[in-house]
Structure formats: structure tokens, C-alpha cells
Assembly symmetry: C2
Homo-oligomer: 130 residues x 2
DNA sequence: CTTGACCTTCCAGTAACTGGAAGCACTATC
DNA sequence: GATAGTGCTTCCAGTTACTGGAAGGTCAAG
């Protein structure tokens, strides 16, 4: 099938699929006219990639996961290790955002937000409040 | 003062400060030798930028905030609007990460993580579990 | 006068796409 | 067969916010 159909089935933009081929994540065949020809397996791999990316795995992690996915002799421990490491990164990102959120929220609630120039948000950012 | 001292006082790498000048966030003076010469105000602005960036504001938001900071006739409402919009983005990012975390965590806990090839993480990513 | 630390600019690379231009291929219609 | 419209191709550039490194000028100490 052509790229637009593969894109629809995988839930990815055609542009992204071309990019994935460019970096060697997938290697669809080619028709006589030079068009990419996607097999069911290609689409399957694209869906796999779409899900992995939506869980926040980096491209390189996706590459590793896809390799493990194709390797029927894999050890599930290898997969789990990657996933756990990623989970830790998600957790630290959440913690970082929560910390930002707390500070920002405090500043916002202290600000009148009217036509007057006095602004605790700015003075907070300027470091005058500590 | 020279850039390394300004960097120390602002808590930013010298590279970053040069970058900020390049994109017009700050405009330190220059000595006869061509070295940048940072005033107290420059350092103050750098610290402001460092704090704003650490709260996750984008460079363009920082630019706007810095402009408002310099404008003594500002309306605090303008500042608050920027901050609130940013807070919303933080919240949606947190929500997204939490959703990822939940899914990933489920997959991980279902995986034995040993030498065997069976892996719920991979089958989950492949979409076979739904 | 040389050494070492510090400064300068400029170029390239990062992550993961995304937009757009120029040009060939296919399908349908007139 | 000409034409129009859609889809495909490649290639180049831009995005965000830096970061690393090279080549070379400057300064303070000994």
C-alpha cells in the first residue's frame, strides 16, 4: 500500500513515516514507480512506533524496543529495563513540573492582575522575595 | 565585569549568556578589548531570565516578561495572563505525563523481566492487548 | 617572553519532526 | 491525446534552547 494509507492505518503523518525510514527505523519496499510499498508488517511496526512514541520513549529507545520486538529470542528483562528507566525519567519530569507549578501558582495567586504596575510575579522572578 | 563573573552571579553558563545576547535578550556593553562588560542591571536581568527559564517559561515568554519587567507603567494583568497561560501548559503537560506513567506502569508490572521472551510490554506496544 | 587562563567569533550538532518547493506518477475526464 | 487534480518523490530549511569545539586574540604572572 502507499504511504497515505499506511499513515492512516498507523495513525502517523506521512512526513513522520518518511522520517522514520530516513533514520532507519523502518525499511518499506519500493514499487516500480519509486513509490514506497508498505507491507502489513511495516504497518504493524509503524503502529508499534506510534504507541511507543506516545508513551514518551525516545527514538533511540524505540529503535531498541523494535529490535527486541523483532527478536523472538529476546529476554523480557531487557525490555523491562528500558521501560523502567523511562518510567524513572517520566517521574522526575513530573516532579520537576510539579515544583515549577507550585512556585508559579504561588506567584500568580499573589498577583492582582489589574491595570496597576505592581506585580509579585515580576518581583518574584527578580528574586526580590527571598 | 567579565562574562565568567556574570555567569557565576547569574547562575548561568557563559555560553548561554552569549546566546541570550545573540537573540537580543540582553545587550551588555563592550570594553576596549572587545570583551563584554556586564553591569549590575545586566546581571539582574540575567538572574531574572534564569529564574523565568527555570519555571519553564519559553525564551519568547521570557522576552515578554523582561520587557514588562523593564516597563514601569506595565499592567500586572499582562504579566498574570502570561503566567496563567504557562501554568495551563504545565498542567496539561503533567496530565499527559501522568497518563503515560499509568499506562507504562501497568505494562511494566505485568512483565516478568527475566530471561524468557514473553513480554507484555512489547505486546502492549504492538496493540495486541486491546 | 612565555605560559595559562580567559575572552572572542563562528560552525556544527542535538531531538523529532514539520513546512514548503520542485518535479514525476497516476487517474479521470473531455 | 491533452489536461486537471491528486499523490508521490526528494531535498532544503526551520523549529527550541542551547552546547561543544575550533581558531585565534587578550591579559596577568613570573
Amino acid at each position: 500500500m502507499n504511504i497515505s494509507q499506511a499513515a492512516t492505518r498507523a495513525g502517523l503523518p506521512a512526513k513522520t513515516i518518511r522520517y522514520y525510514e530516513e533514520i532507519g527505523l523502518i525499511t518499506p519496499g519500493r514499487g516500480a514507480n519509486g513509490y514506497r510499498d508498505f507491507s502489513q508488517t511495516d504497518v504493524h511496526n509503524l503502529r508499534f512506533l506510534a504507541r511507543a512514541r506516545s508513551l514518551g520513549f525516545t527514538i533511540e529507545e524505540c529503535r531498541a524496543l523494535l529490535t527486541l520486538y523483532a527478536d523472538k529470542g529476546r529476554a523480557s528483562g531487557d525490555v523491562k529495563r528500558i521501560a523502567q528507566k523511562h518510567l524513572e525519567q517520566i517521574d522526575s519530569k513530573i516532579a520537576e513540573l510539579r515544583s515549577m507549578r507550585a512556585t508559579l501558582s504561588d506567584l500568580i495567586s499573589a498577583c492582582a492582575g489589574d491595570h496597576r504596575p505592581d506585580c509579585p510575579i515580576l518581583t518574584g522572578l527578580a528574586g526580590e522575595s527571598r
